[in-house]
């Protein structure tokens, strides 16, 4: 019965994709590109939430700080951001480690509201520091490869943003391999599922948390370096992505990293579908919240039935 239902859903989705492709292929193209960006920013936040169980409201600001660091390195050395991402990721990993040791660790047993206030405070601190150092004037590094395009008949579209799809897929696969094939990853998974049990069997929970926080910060740093190739940066550039990432994680379910990618695809295509109609171009934000409410409500109803 379930197989039949899944098959029906699969066929319906396949038909929908084919119809969209035939009618307006760019909906699928831009939708997937947007999904790649959303997912690759949200996945590190999902990793922290799934294992350390803390909502990092400074997530977008970590990415903003990494983007500024990339900007400075590239301006000073003429280096491409894709080369700079290695030192940037290393710096953000150390930064994440210090932030965990100096602040997050002390709030792990505090009420959730205190944890939120702490990370919110970190977000404000980073934004204001960027404002003082760089002012609010936007900065952007411009590269020819960002405008790479493909022509299919009359249709010309940019292909550069597919980089973010590749990054998101690489993050999902890499993290899955890490969490299931390595000792440290398995320990992190155990700590995420049951920290007390993990401690009883001899896993150093604090060290694991510190490692996961640093790893996620490194991934955010990597995204910060890639982000500046696509977007302008300014002190508040990261904050909208914090909210979007959190909502995507809520849609996918905490700890479900491949689910973040799936939610992002759903969101990206839905947004671009609405943007294709003259009358619904401004509705992209509405579809975002409608999707979140629908998914969470649906999950809650299914849970009650179960």
């Amino acid at each position: 019965m379930a197989n039949k239902r899944n098959l029906t859903i699969g066929v319906l989705l396949g038909v929908a994709v084919l119809v969209i492709l035939a009618w307006r292929p760019t909906v699928l193209i831009y939708g997937l590109q947007a999904a790649g960006l959303y997912a690759s920013i949200a996945i590190p936040m999902g990793l922290i939430l799934g294992i350390v169980h803390i909502v990092n409201l400074a997530h977008g600001e970590f990415m903003m700080a990494a983007s500024y660091l990339t900007y400075m390195i590239c301006r000073a050395s003429g280096m491409d951001p894709y080369l700079a991402l290695v030192p940037v990721a290393a710096v953000t990993a150390v930064f994440g480690f210090l932030v965990y040791k100096l602040t997050i660790r002390r709030a792990l047993k505090a009420p959730e509201l205190n944890q939120l206030i702490l990370t919110f405070g970190l977000a404000i601190l980073l934004t204001q520091a960027a404002n003082l150092l760089f002012t609010s004037q936007t900065r952007k590094l411009s590269f020819d490869y960002v405008s790479a395009s493909v022509d299919i008949g009359e249709l010309s579209f940019g292909i550069y943003n597919f980089v973010f799809v590749a990054v998101a897929v690489a993050m999902v696969v890499g993290l899955r391999l890490f969490l299931t094939r390595t000792t440290t990853g398995k320990a992190a998974l155990a700590v995420g599922q049951n920290p007390r049990g993990a401690a009883i069997v001899g896993i150093d929970v604090d060290r694991t948390y510190a490692f996961v926080f640093s790893l996620a910060s490194a991934l955010v740093g990597l995204m910060g370096a890639a982000f500046i190739t696509r977007s302008s940066i300014f002190p508040t550039v990261g904050s909208p992505f914090t909210m979007k990432s959190f909502c995507l994680i809520a849609m996918a379910g905490v700890g479900n990293i491949p689910g973040i990618l799936a939610s992002s695809v759903l969101l990206g295509i839905s947004e671009n579908f609405l943007k294709a109609f003259r009358g619904t171009r401004g509705w992209a934000d509405i579809v975002f919240f409608v999707l979140i409410i629908t998914v969470i409500l649906g999950r809650s109803i299914r849970g009650k039935k179960a």
């Binding site: 947007a34 952007k140 405008s147 010309s156 302008s232």
Partner: protein, 399 residues
């Protein structure tokens, strides 16, 4: 006892003399934003220049700046503080229309002379009403801007017969600024049927957007002669990068942000992009006042002014200083009368006088300029009297 009374009298006299020592100019700007930051810096530059030359009426000017944080409530509280605590003689500054709307009730309550450098939305003018004779508005209203763009493109097509514009497409950010710009463009360009105006909204990178694929696709399908985007500086380069990827090359490619990102002119993508503004460093070549302002700013701050709010705020200080000198005091009625007679050769490349707008009595600048990025420089292409270059047309096809 007698000695104590004499001492107290001396202290009181000294305090009064000290109070009379400076002419206090209160100001509010959003200091975290480049417009407010550089606006306040330029105003301080003007104050320092005037004080160095001996001040006004033998007194030094003192500029008291409060950061409005781009918030209407903070900005309203700033007016209260400037008037009641700092006892300023008059007020200058401002940038955002929404913030200015929040300040209007406090301004009306005290009736101090205000020389505003911001607020383009005519909703602010409606809130002020016709009785606000103490309000002097330097920045053009939205309908002034729209009318001057229309006039500008009409005149450019007459002077340069190869420039042909019939269809205009405006990509506008979803907020009040973008929507207002689109509404004004439709009213001023399409009302008489001379132009066909179409448009579509996009979410600005400044608000967490930054994906322009769908709006550029709509623009490409419309095949416009003039494509314009009304957004923020964060959109400037990404929208060009995506337009290049989509091989979208309209006859004219333009933008209307309040400022440009750092180093925009050094990007090859900026070449021949047209835009609207009030000032550019190239005006130094045709205006000695602009050169004086520019050289002074660079010498003082080791930084190039990047927004027209800098020369506009600089002008505000010189205009009030000149009016105080002619009025002979800071008395409100005398000051209003003196300001009404203003004739100031500004760094914007034009003489500022105050004439009636639709509602208020004292409107300073009424026109904007049409500029074009050429070889990394912002060149004025209209009005012709302050033009620094001819327009490059058409916008070259992407390679």
């Amino acid at each position: 006892m007698k000695r104590t009374i004499i001492a107290l009298a001396l202290i009181a006299a000294a305090a009064m003399a000290f109070g009379q020592g400076t002419i206090k100019i209160g100001a509010t700007w959003p200091l975290a934003d480049i417009t407010g930051k550089q606006g306040s810096m330029a105003a301080q530059q003007a104050v320092d220049e005037i004080n160095k030359a001996g001040g006004v009426l033998g007194r030094q000017l003192e500029l008291i700046i409060i950061d409005d944080e781009l918030k209407a409530d903070k900005a309203a509280a700033a007016i209260e503080k400037l008037v009641t605590v700092d006892n300023v003689d008059l007020i200058i500054g401002g940038m955002s229309s929404g913030v200015a709307l929040g300040q209007v009730p406090a301004m009306k309550k005290y009736g101090k002379v205000v020389v505003s450098t911001g607020a383009a939305s005519s909703t602010v003018e409606a809130a002020l009403g016709a009785d606000a004779d103490w309000y002097f508005h330097l920045h053009p209203w939205d309908y002034n801007q729209g009318a001057s763009y229309r006039q500008g493109w009409d005149e450019i097509q007459v002077k340069y017969s190869n420039v042909k514009i019939k269809k205009i497409f405006l990509a506008y950010e979803e907020g009040a600024f973008g929507k207002g710009s689109f509404d004004q463009t439709k009213i001023l360009f399409a009302a008489d049927g001379r132009y066909i105006v179409d448009g579509a909204p996009f979410k600005s990178a400044a608000q967490g957007g930054g994906d322009y694929g769908s709006v550029l696709e709509a623009a490409k399908m419309a095949k416009p002669d003039l494509f314009l985007w009304a957004g923020w500086d964060a959109d400037a380069l990404p929208i060009l990068e995506q337009a290049k990827a989509m091989k979208f090359s309209p006859g004219l490619f333009g933008g209307a942000p309040p400022g440009w990102p750092v180093g925009f002119g050094t990007s090859r993508l900026s070449e021949n992009v047209v835009f609207y503004g009030m000032w550019a460093p190239s005006i130094n070549e045709v205006s000695p006042a602009s050169k004086k302002f520019y050289d002074g700013f660079v010498a003082k701050y080791k930084l190039e002014p990047a927004t027209y709010f800098a020369p506009l705020s600089y002008s505000a200080v010189y205009i009030v200083a000149d009016a105080i000198k002619r009025a002979g005091s800071t008395d409100t009625a005398a000051l209003i009368k003196a300001l009404e007679a203003t004739k100031y050769e500004s760094p914007l490349g034009q003489t500022i006088t105050f004439t009636p707008a639709k509602i208020i009595k004292h409107q300073g600048v009424k026109n904007q300029k049409i500029l074009q990025w050429q070889k990394g420089r912002q060149e004025v292409i209209w009005p012709f009297e302050s033009a620094t270059a001819k327009p490059v047309y058409p916008f070259p096809k992407w390679k």
